[in-house]
C-alpha cells in the first residue's frame, strides 16, 4: 500500500441497502449514505468530495434519471467513492457529474482541447481519457485502492 493510500480512510460498503436506494430516489439514497459512511468515518475524516458526490447523485435522481440508470448510478457510487477517497493529495478535486446511463463522471477541465474525463460504471470499471491538443492518453481499468499510475500521469500532464 502506498503512503498516500495508507493515509486515506478505508470504508466498507457491504452493509449498503441497495434495494432501498434503487427504489426510493430521495430517502433510499440518504439511507445508503448514512449506513455506509457514518459508522466508519469520523467527522474529521469525512471528505468534502464525498459530500459533493452524494449531492450530485441526489440531484441526478431528482432530475429524472431513468429507473435503470438510477439503479446503475447507485451501484456506481461505491467504486466512485472509493476512487475519490484514494485521490492523491497533489491532484485537485474533480468536478462530479452523472451521465444519462448512470455512470459517474469526474472531470478536470482547463480549456477546450485540454481536459481529463473519468467514467465509473456500476461494475467498477473506470474509463479515462485525457486530451491535450492532438495528444491523448486513455485506458480502461477497474477501481481499486490506488489510482493507476498512468491516470495520475495523464492528469498531471494535462492540467499543469
Amino acid at each position: 500500500m502506498s503512503a498516500i493510500a495508507a493515509r486515506r480512510p478505508r470504508i466498507g460498503f457491504t452493509s449498503m441497502k441497495r434495494e432501498n436506494a434503487m427504489t426510493d430516489r430521495g430517502g433510499g439514497l440518504m439511507a445508503l449514505i448514512s449506513e455506509a459512511f457514518l459508522p466508519t468515518l469520523t467527522f474529521h475524516s469525512y471528505p468534502q468530495s464525498l459530500d459533493a458526490l452524494f449531492e450530485r447523485a441526489r440531484l441526478a435522481g431528482e432530475e429524472g434519471l431513468e429507473p435503470d440508470a438510477l439503479a446503475a448510478m447507485n451501484l456506481a457510487l461505491e467504486p466512485a467513492a472509493t476512487f475519490l477517497l484514494n485521490r492523491p493529495d497533489d491532484i485537485a478535486a474533480p468536478e462530479i457529474d452523472v451521465w444519462p446511463d448512470g455512470q459517474i463522471a469526474f472531470e478536470w477541465y482547463v480549456e477546450r482541447g485540454r481536459k481529463v474525463a473519468v467514467l465509473i460504471n456500476a461494475a467498477g470499471r473506470l474509463v479515462y481519457s485525457a486530451i491535450r491538443g492532438a495528444e491523448h492518453d486513455g485506458a480502461t481499468v477497474y477501481v481499486s485502492g490506488q489510482w493507476p499510475v498512468s491516470l495520475v500521469m495523464a492528469i498531471n500532464r494535462t492540467i499543469r
Binding site: 457529474d97 477541465y109 477546450r112 486530451i131 486513455g138
Partner: protein
Amino acid sequence: MSYNPEAIADAEQISRFACERSYYRSSDMSAKEKAFALDRGGEVSVFRIDDLAHHELWTIGDEACRARGKLAIASLEFTAVRVRKLGLALVVDEPPVRHAAIRQWPSEDQRLKLQQRLADVCTVRLRVG
C-alpha cells in the same frame, strides 16, 4: 444550405439539443462530453438545422427533449464534417424530419476521447425568449 432528405452534406449545421444545463459549461460556453452520451441504441441523436427559423429550431429541440419530460435549453452546434473527420458516421435517420444519428462509435476510452473532441468543436447557442 438547403435541406436534402436523402443525404447530409459536410457543410451542414448539426445540432445536439441540450435538455439540461449540465450538457455545457456556462463559464466558457463550451459543450461537455456528457452531451454526447450514447442512447440505448448505441448512437447519438442529432438534428439538421440549416435554414430553420428561430421558432422552428426550438420546436424541434423541444420534441427531442420531450421523451425526458424536458424542454430544450440550448443547441450544441457543429458542422457535419467535424463528425466525419473523427471517423464517425453521420446518417439520415428519419422520422422525425431532419433527424440524424451519429453511429460507429468505438469502445471505452476511444469513445470517450471522441465525445471530448466533438464537444470541443461545438458552438453553444442558448435558448433566449
